[in-house]
């Protein structure tokens, strides 16, 4: 008998049917991964298994855990099971912990709710569990004193404190850096074999899936489209959606060749300091050096990648290059002129660069129409086009990114995430800048949409000489869209060189560890082409 057996599970919230006839099972000691794009119903399946569906959700079918049907079990009995025979780890470690309780107390609570033991004993055991999950900080710390990876370990400790038979992990590493992700995945894998626990892991990242899972379940729009042991699934890929999903994840763009050219952006020995809170009462304010002696160049029409983990200084560098903040040492020149000119920006410099941000939902003023949004950079021009010239520019910019002129009259909420990133690119292109900064510009998109946007960027490169700085934590994306790559760690550039050279033959230990930690999809080039 399976540890977890979901049979014909359907979930309806109001009029909307979220899940249709889901079937899946997890054995003890087995890792099953559910994958799919946003809206596929992955997380809802996990919540149904925990009996934590939102109020008003109507269910059909059965969810049997160890012979008990979760869907028909009354709430008090479910409370007994949660944390005891099943545990759950969530995506966002930064908000998953109660900010006003110590981590030790929060782990001890799992023990105290389910076992009749003195508080002291619970705290002692909690400290042990925290050690077991590899946490090195004392249990009397508060969540805000811990990093994201450490917090995720605390959440895992809470979930496994009573050695549940089933652990559910919903995107447990999505919010983490690649090196942290590798360590958390290793921990999960190790706990599964040590406790003979079943693990149901939910992730959109196919590389993670292929890396960790014994069996893969692919979901699309609330249905299971394919489920098979990992090797079989990777080899066969019976369902077209599975094929397209994997093809999009390993998508390679066709970047046109370029000839060497004169330098456009020159960053020379740049330091950037931030003041920190005082450590001693009246002591001097310590300064945090976010950028340390940064030097690099970007040629006209060159496509340069910048990789590094969160907190390495990527965003600080972006703001400095965009001329939004001053630097404490060195200089940043664009086409021979400084980018930062105090409170009054030098518009001739500014109009040579534009930026595309990560979050398609916060990149646009929701109160303005698309035509007004994408013409905002006209502010940089001395004589912005008006009337028919403006309309022509809008039409051209929208056409360049594959949108129709009528889209200009719509508001931003009428567009999907991928379309919004296209609009963001249209906004960047409308003043025909020489340099575009893509700041994690495809990181928030589903794989298939991401592939389309990357193709669009390559397409634009073919139409005109387009230079850009592509900032991302995703090594595989950077590898396909750049000529040259910079690797950043703790405010310094530790390695730079032609992209293929750096990836094939990394020199710096940090680059090596980054590349080693990034989960790799197995070579699936033999898989049949999809449309």
């Amino acid at each position: 008998m399976s540890l977890l057996a979901i049979k014909d599970l359907s979930v309806q919230i109001g009029q909307a049917e979220i899940l249709h006839g889901i079937n899946l099972s997890v054995q003890a000691g087995e890792i099953v991964a559910i994958t799919g794009e946003s809206g596929s119903g992955k997380s809802m399946t996990a919540l149904a298994t925990m009996g934590l569906l939102p109020r008003g959700a109507q269910t059909q079918g059965t969810v049997m855990l160890d012979g008990i049907d979760i869907l028909t079990t009354p709430e008090p009995a479910l409370c007994q099971m949660r944390g005891n025979s099943m545990g759950m780890v969530f995506q966002e470690p930064m908000t998953a912990l109660n900010p006003v309780q110590t981590i030790g107390a929060q782990v001890a609570e799992t023990l105290l709710v389910h076992r009749n033991m003195p508080r002291r004993e619970a705290h002692r055991q909690a400290a042990e569990v925290l050690q077991r999950v590899g946490l090195t900080v004392p249990p009397d710390r508060y969540p805000h004193e811990l990093s994201g990876g450490q917090r995720q370990r605390v959440v895992i400790a809470m979930a496994i404190a009573l050695r549940p038979k089933l652990l559910i992990a919903d995107e447990p590493t999505t919010a983490l850096d690649v090196t942290t992700q590798a360590r958390i995945l290793a921990l999960l894998r190790e706990l599964v074999s040590a406790f003979d626990m079943g693990l149901l892991i939910i992730t959109h990242d196919l590389a993670v899936v292929a890396d960790i899972a014994d069996r893969i379940v692919v979901m699309q729009k609330g249905r299971v489209v394919e489920a098979a042991p990992t090797q079989t699934l990777l080899a066969e890929m019976r369902h077209p959606y599975t094929k397209s999903l994997f093809a999009a994840s390993t998508h390679q763009v066709d970047l046109p060749d370029r000839a060497p050219a004169a330098p456009l952006l020159r960053v020379a020995n740049v330091d950037r300091d931030y003041p920190m809170p005082r450590e001693k009462l009246l002591g001097p304010r310590p300064r945090f050096r976010a950028l340390h002696d940064i030097s690099f160049e970007v040629e006209h029409g060159e496509r340069v990648g910048l990789v590094g983990e969160s907190g390495c200084g990527k965003s600080t560098l972006t703001r400095a290059i965009l001329g939004l903040e001053d630097v404490q040492g060195g200089q940043i020149m664009l086409d021979g002129q400084p980018v930062f000119t105090g409170r009054h920006p030098n518009l001739t410099v500014r109009r040579k660069m534009q930026v595309v941000f990560q979050d398609p939902y916060s990149s646009f003023n929701p109160r303005h129409r698309v035509d007004r949004l994408i013409t905002e950079p006209f502010h940089l021009l001395e004589r912005p086009p008006t009337g028919p010239a403006r309309d022509a520019a809008i039409t051209k910019a929208l056409a360049d990114v594959g949108l129709s002129p009528s889209d200009g009259r719509k508001y931003i909420h009428e567009f999907s995430g991928g379309q919004r990133q296209r609009i963001a690119i249209a906004r960047a292109l409308i003043v025909e800048p020489e340099l575009i900064i893509f700041d994690e510009a495809v990181s928030a998109l589903d794989v298939s949409v991401r592939a389309q946007v990357l193709d669009l960027i390559a397409d634009l490169c073919r139409k005109r000489p387009l230079g850009y700085l592509f900032i991302s934590h995703d090594l595989s994306v950077v590898r396909t869209v750049t000529d040259r790559v910079l690797v950043m760690q703790a405010g310094r550039i530790v390695e730079q060189g032609p992209t293929e050279d750096v990836f094939n033959n990394p020199q710096h230990p940090y680059t090596k560890s980054l590349i080693a930690a990034a989960p790799q999809l197995p070579d699936i080039t033999h898989a049949p082409e999809t449309v």
């Binding site: 939004l324 660069m353 930026v355 941000f357 003023n365 905002e376 502010h379």
Partner: protein, 271 residues
């Protein structure tokens, strides 16, 4: 649109119409005293009865609505006109000395409840409706300044503001072009709430004699006059009280309804 919104809007409109009507017509002239006819309970002639001078209470309520609405509206106007720009400025210069100064100034004003401001002003200038407006208005300034800053700060973190800065737009221009349109709903909702609080504050001030002075009619003064008569002629105290209650209730329902209708995520401050 919710039921609350409709009821709230209807109640508010009724009082505004009564106040407007009082400029051209009231059932009786409230400046003529009619002592023999005093303290009459509600009747066909005097729908809401008469007060201790024999004046028609309905007419007094209509004239009082004028005072209440004028004082509260002007006080909200002062609060918005000063508070919103201050809040925008503080948010635009977040973390600067100016921001700190504005916020500390706000905290300081919060230590002076409008009643205390009214006491200070009255002690020196004497009581009047204008003083009530100033006292309530000053108190509204930090409410709007804080709210504006609080709503503007997260907006400044959004990428679309960064995009505007990349386009070389100044902080002032961004505040007007991008921040202000995104906080208008919030201001409308909070404005309604402050309006209702202004009605309450005006009533309290004129009740203790720090607001509008006779012969200007005001609900608070009507209550003060009724206080010693409450056991003989309860209607003299009940009518103005219910007028205040209904007007404030109407405005609150309108504010909450507007919030749910415009944007349910809006959080109003109610102090």
């Amino acid at each position: 649109m919710s039921r609350g919104l409709i009821i709230g809007a209807a109640l508010s409109v009724v009082f505004v119409v009564l106040a407007a009507l009082s400029f051209i017509w009231t059932p009786f002239d409230i400046e003529t005293l009619n002592i023999p006819n005093k303290l009459k309970p509600p009747s066909g002639a005097h729908w809401l009865g008469t007060d201790h001078f024999g004046r028609d209470i309905l007419s007094m309520i209509m004239m009082g609505a004028r005072t209440s609405i004028a004082v509260a509206l002007l006080a909200v106007g002062i609060g918005m006109a000063v508070g919103v720009p201050l809040g925008l400025l503080a948010a635009a210069r977040h973390g600067s000395l100016l921001d700190e100064l504005i916020m500390r100034g706000n905290d300081l004003v919060f230590a002076f409840p409008s009643l205390v401001i009214a006491i200070l002003i009255t002690a020196v200038f004497g009581a009047s409706a204008v003083n009530a407006i100033i006292a309530i208005g000053i108190f509204n300034v930090p409410v709007f300044a804080r709210l504006t800053r609080g709503a503007a700060l997260p907006l400044w973190e959004r990428d679309f503001i960064l995009a505007a800065r990349v386009c070389g737009k100044s902080a002032a221009r961004i505040s007007v072009e991008h921040i202000l349109p995104n906080i208008t709903n919030l201001m409308i909702v909070q404005g309604t709430i402050q309006f209702s609080l202004g009605i309450l504050a005006e009533a309290a001030l004129s009740y203790i004699g720090l607001g509008a002075q006779p012969p200007t009619a005001s609900w608070g003064r009507m209550l003060a006059d009724a206080q010693t008569l409450v056991s003989i002629a309860p209607h003299t105290a009940l009518v103005p009280g219910f007028a205040i209650l209904l007007m404030v209730l109407g405005l609150n329902l309108l504010g909450d309804g507007l919030r749910d209708w415009l944007d349910p995520r809006i959080r109003v401050a109610r102090v």
